[in-house]
């Protein structure tokens, strides 16, 4: 067996820097995706058929095409169309944020619609207006359905973020490739960043479990 982990030692700081680079755009994409996804979810359960159609079409397109295609379209095709030379960082945030918002909107929509219809009727019968009904009656109950699925979506996004290596964004994954071609050994650097991804996902999983537990105690 030809394995020598000592060879990657000089490159460890370089690869560790990738954690922050990856987290930076993952966190921004998650927040962006969550906000946009929430708005789209509210549109989907809203009253306006045209907006509802647009929201459904949006979700369908972003869920129905490969993420890597969306990424390449935004990175390579946007400059061709607009002349604006988009940076890998911005492309990554846009792609992952837009893509994630499609999934998040479905998670939130389904969570809200899973709340017993009687809750809305009871609130209406008491004369409670739409906003307080949504924010104080429906959403607190929907959270129990939404949060676990949402955590899953964040985990998926964190792992898929490795795709940005194809637009030469220097994230964790890309750094492993750079090191690999530098020392002519791929196994060690790939194993190293693989371990880091696993740790990141485990941390997210633990947070998710903790949140779920907190929700359950309010029953």
């Amino acid at each position: 067996m030809n394995l020598d982990f000592t060879q990657i030692v000089p490159y460890i700081p370089f690869m560790l820097e990738g954690i922050w680079v990856t987290l930076q755009f993952v966190i921004i994409a998650i927040i962006f995706g969550f906000i946009l996804g929430s708005i789209i979810a509210l549109v989907k359960i809203g009253k306006f058929p045209i907006l509802r159609f647009l929201a459904d079409a949006y979700t369908s397109i972003f869920r129905g095409t490969p993420l890597i295609l969306q990424l390449m379209l935004i990175y390579y095709a946007v400059p061709q169309l607009t002349g604006y030379d988009i940076s890998p960082f911005l492309s990554a945030i846009l792609t992952f944020g837009l893509n994630s918002s499609a999934y998040v909107s479905e998670i939130i929509r389904a969570g809200i619609q899973a709340v017993d219809k009687g809750q809305k009727e009871a609130a209406e019968a008491l004369g409670i207006p739409y906003r307080p009904m949504m924010f104080k009656i429906i959403l607190p109950q929907a959270m129990k359905n939404i949060l676990p699925a949402l955590m899953n979506e964040f985990i998926t996004l964190t792992k898929e973020s490795a795709l940005v290596s194809v637009i030469s964004y220097l994230d964790l994954m890309r750094r492993a490739q750079v090191v690999g071609s530098d020392i002519y050994r791929n196994f060690e650097p790939l194993m190293f960043v693989g371990l880091i991804y696993y740790c990141l996902v485990m941390i997210l999983t633990l947070i998710g479990k903790y949140v779920e537990k907190r929700l359950r105690t309010s029953d």
Binding site: G118, A122, A125, I128, P129, P132, K136
Partner: protein, 240 residues
């Protein structure tokens, strides 16, 4: 207090209410009975616009609540509703269930809302449950809380949609007793029910519905002893 004129309601092509005409007087206890699917609940739900009538008019204290720009919120402040399946807010304790709507809708101060809520809980016999969450209550207790929650808005009229149908038999009485207390206290009530004993004993007037129409409308004594229509007769033969 309530006047219903030529009320029609269709779901798609299915007509569920056909030309209803009736009224509810202040202080009156009206019960609505009839077989399943006869439109009783839909009729009740039209009165507070949980269902939008397809055509016809409903007047509350002379005001047409079915006209397009009617103030639905104002209507609902005056009309309380109790559901078959209670629909308490599961993430709030009993006291918050009672105070949330008055504080949010009417802007009642917290202290005031709580003291009214405690009075009402005492009235329905659940004073010791104010900190409990709905999931820890029995069906009968849930329904009594639901009644108190509706009363907390101090409505002029209370609608009950089969309030005891989802209850275990031994809990029916405790809920009916609360409704009877309301009736004796002079509250205006419209009750959709399968409890013939309750209708007989408490109602001032009985409406018998079948296939979306009011088939018979009279006082309970007359209705239960000598119904005028064949359909009411055969219904009573089956349920009594």
């Amino acid at each position: 207090m309530i006047k219903v004129e030529h009320l029609h309601k269709s779901f798609g092509k299915t007509e569920v209410l056909t030309d209803l005409n009736t009224s509810i007087e202040k202080g009156e206890v009206l019960t609505i009975i009839g077989p399943s699917g006869s439109g009783k609940s839909t009729f009740l739900r039209c009165i507070n616009l949980l269902e939008q009538p397809t055509s016809g008019h409903i007047y509350l204290n002379g005001e047409d609540i079915t006209k397009p720009n009617a103030d639905t919120l104002k209507l609902r402040k005056q009309v309380g509703m109790v559901f078959q399946h209670f629909h308490l807010f599961p993430h709030m304790n009993v006291l918050d269930n009672l105070t949330y709507a008055p504080m949010t809708v009417k802007g009642t101060a917290k202290k005031e809302a709580q003291s009214l809520a405690r009075d009402l809980l005492f009235k329905v016999g659940l004073s010791e449950k104010e900190d409990a969450y709905p999931s820890s209550l029995s069906g009968g207790q849930k329904q009594r809380v639901a009644i108190a929650r509706a009363l907390a808005m101090e409505p002029e009229l209370m609608l009950f949609d089969e309030p005891t149908s989802a209850l275990d038999p031994e809990m029916v009485k405790e809920v009916l007793d609360v409704i009877k207390d309301l009736a004796h206290g002079g509250m205006t009530l419209a009750v959709v029910t399968h409890e013939m004993g309750f209708a007989k004993e408490v109602a001032d007037r009985v409406i018998f519905m079948d296939q979306g129409m009011i088939v018979e409308e009279s006082n309970p004594k007359k209705f239960f002893e000598k119904p005028e229509t064949v359909r009411a007769q055969s219904f009573l033969d089956k349920v009594l």
